[in-house]
């Protein structure tokens, strides 16, 4: 863990030196902040689950970015058209069989490892964007609701209740039946959007029909995702807004928005960050489930859930390797984020803070 700490610390200092170059004196002015970062990084490095989680997330991230670029098989070629044997060909170790992919193939004879590389990108983009769109929406509503109180609070909370009451699945189904046509129409005509989104998901522009399905479950997910954040932020805001430093900020002339974003938000952020990390795991699995149910993109897009769904028909006689392999990938992605979230929660907990501080001081002295 020494290594992790040293690496992260050098990243912090590289950043600090850069800022120093841009505005001299930055390091002095932010010495306490830098110390805070060092502390967090130290605490992180001391947590084995955090480091493992972080490592997994890092690998997933790298694979997500480069996946579609290094995939050695294009996902749009139906290999079974050339060789019927390729359909659900089981995993294969040379030299007993050669010419067949190591981990086996899926329904269309594609190497499932290559397909998973596309899958990483798709899952990653969906989960990250859902959380990063849903969370801010929920946070802002929670801030307003908690701070203003009264009628505004009641209205926002009732709306939140309504959305929370919706079973995400039902909503997704509803959206998935209506939206894809609409979005499809937009993508057909607007080439810029089409290019952007296909690039984002690592797909060809020709797949814009499936893209429309992807975007619609995206949409459905964001709608379902924000209420949780609104609730927990509102709770934290209720206690923070009673603090004297908020009254003092008022007296310093700050407007309501300034107070919300400069004073209240930073003080309610910790639980939100932890929740977001766990949520990315949940979103990944939720998106896969939606695809599994057929609400997402169809062939040839190799969305992990969808491929597993198709494999269901041949399970367990022929497609066990597909289900297992892709299932484990989903497991690992979710696990990585969960472990990271756990570690983050411990790091951000003010109670364990002093203990970490003292340990760091002791180590520095050695």
């Amino acid at each position: 863990m020494e290594f992790v700490y040293k690496t992260l610390k050098s990243i912090i200092w590289a950043y600090a030196k850069l800022r120093e170059k841009l505005s001299p004196g930055w390091i002095l002015k932010n010495s306490s902040r830098i110390r805070e970062w060092e502390l967090m990084v130290y605490a992180y490095s001391k947590s084995p689950i955090g480091v493992i989680g972080g490592l997994i997330v890092l690998i997933v991230f790298i694979l997500a970015v480069i996946g579609p670029l290094i995939a050695w098989e294009p996902y749009w070629e139906y290999k079974i058209l050339y060789d019927e044997n390729l359909r659900y060909h089981p995993p294969c170790l040379p030299p007993s069989c050669s010419g067949y992919p190591l981990f086996g193939t899926d329904e269309w004879g594609r190497d499932i490892v290559a397909m998973s590389l596309y899958g990483f990108r798709i899952s990653f983009v969906i989960s990250i964007v859902v959380v990063f769109l849903g969370a801010p929406l929920g946070i802002i509503l929670g801030l307003i609701s908690g701070y203003k109180g009264g009628v505004v609070d009641e209205i926002i909370m009732r709306v939140t209740d309504i959305f929370l009451a919706f079973p995400g699945l039902v909503l997704a189904i509803a959206f998935a039946s209506v939206l894809p046509q609409r979005i499809r129409g937009v993508l057909e005509t607007n080439s810029a959007l089409r290019a952007f989104f296909s690039g984002l998901f690592g797909l060809r522009q020709e797949e814009y029909g499936q893209l429309a399905a992807l975007l619609s479950i995206w949409f459905a997910m964001v709608i379902v995702w924000w209420p949780g954040y609104a609730r927990i932020v509102r709770g934290s805001v209720l206690s923070v807004r009673e603090m004297p430093f908020i009254e003092a900020a008022k007296l310093s002339g700050l407007s309501t928005w300034s107070i919300l974003f400069k004073h209240i938000l930073p003080n309610v952020l910790s639980p939100v960050l932890v929740m977001m990390t766990f949520d990315i795991a949940t979103a990944t699995l939720f998106a896969a489930s939606l695809s599994f149910l057929g609400l997402g993109p169809q062939e040839p897009v190799p969305e992990l859930g969808f491929v597993i769904s198709k494999a269901g028909g041949y399970f367990p006689e022929r497609s066990t390797h597909v289900v297992l392999y892709l299932g484990i990938i989903l497991l690992i992605i979710a696990l990585g984020w969960n472990l990271l979230g756990d570690a983050l929660r411990d790091i951000l907990d003010p109670k364990t803070r002093r203990a970490i501080e003292y340990r760091l001081e002791k180590e520095k002295k050695k």
Binding site: R354, Y358, R359
Partner: protein, 341 residues
């Protein structure tokens, strides 16, 4: 087990000798209480005075081994004369015997009455609980009768009604009086009150202090009062013990401490308090901060902030030296002056 309990003078009910309490934290070992000694006579009130972190609360909890991990009582004796005349060392007796004494012969009153009371039970039930813990053969009717009596004693109006009240149905002052009533349920020999009036209004405070004095006279009870408020000390205490950074720096009869303080810390403390009956030009403050108890300074712990610090103060800890009868202070200045005996 070899019983080497030393003899305790007739009128003394509690004698603490060389108490040492340490807390083993991740940051290091906190020397919360070091070599603290004091005693309480029957019917007398002693005040344990000091600021935040001086160790006064830890000391009083240590008396009945109420210290939890990571704290540990590392040394010392706490001699207590029980009702039956037997003298025991509270730090060495069995858990059984200690439980017999707590709540029965030694009672506590803490600062916050709200957290001392279980919101789910009536005041009457609290008292009932305390009594039957020590007298198993008593009927509920009997304990409730005693409860009403106790509440009357602590000047709670309409005690027959109040005995059935829940804590939230009472004001702060009444709650604190109830806590005192609970403490008195078994007519203890010694009552330890830790900042009992800090959260209360000044008129209620006056009532409670009056009450404590009255009860003390009636029950011939010893009272240890912990406070940082010198006004309360002046009103109520017979003898005063001044603590600083875990050590006893001065001890003596009330008038000696107020009119003839010897330790520089005591002197500064007295000058920092605004006395409304006097015309004050300026309040004295004490420069610096309380030292860390993890690595306390060598020698006298007050030395870094002391205006009269000499060479020896930074090297060796001053012993308690007698200034007058029962008045002692730990300061090298006294040795220099050749403090008596």
């Amino acid at each position: 087990m070899m019983n080497e309990i030393t003899h305790l003078p007739e009128d003394i009910i509690l004698k603490v000798e060389d108490l040492d309490v340490r807390f083993y934290t991740y940051a290091g070992v906190v020397h919360a209480v070091s070599n603290v000694s004091f005693y309480v006579r029957e019917g007398e009130t002693i005040a344990l005075v000091g600021e935040t972190g001086c160790g006064k609360s830890v000391t009083t909890r240590a008396i009945t081994k109420l210290i939890e991990s990571p704290g540990r009582i590392e040394g010392g004796k706490v001699l207590f004369r029980r009702r039956n005349g037997k003298i025991v060392d509270l730090l060495k007796i069995s858990d059984e015997e200690l439980r017999e004494i707590r709540g029965n012969e030694i009672a506590y009153v803490f600062q916050d009455p709200t957290s001392a009371l279980d919101p789910l039970y009536t005041i009457g039930y609290h008292i009932h609980e305390t009594i039957i813990a020590h007298k198993s053969k008593i009927s509920k009717k009997e304990t409730f009768k005693q409860a009403v009596n106790l509440l009357k004693h602590v000047l709670i109006p309409s005690p027959e009604v109040r005995v059935k009240n829940y804590p939230h149905e009472m004001s702060g002052g009444m709650r604190q009086r109830s806590v005192i009533a609970i403490g008195l349920s078994n007519m203890p020999r010694l009552l330890i009150a830790d900042e009992p009036t800090t959260n209360l209004d000044v008129t209620v405070q006056a009532q409670i202090l009056d009450l404590l004095k009255k009860i003390q006279e009636e029950y011939k009870m010893g009272l240890i009062l912990i406070t940082h408020n010198l006004g309360i000390v002046a009103e109520v205490a017979d003898r005063v013990y001044v603590m600083y950074a875990g050590k006893m720096v001065e001890e003596g009869p009330l008038e000696q401490i107020f009119y003839n303080p010897q330790h520089p810390y005591t002197k500064l403390l007295l000058r920092a308090v605004p006395d409304p009956t006097k015309k004050i030009e300026k309040l004295e403050s004490i420069p610096g901060v309380v030292p860390s108890l993890i690595s306390p300074p060598a020698g006298c712990r007050f030395q870094p902030r002391c205006l009269y610090a000499m060479d020896i103060c930074g090297r060796q800890e001053p012993p308690l030296v007698e200034v007058e009868s029962e008045h002692r202070a730990a300061c090298w200045l006294l040795e220099k002056r050749g403090g008596s005996k």
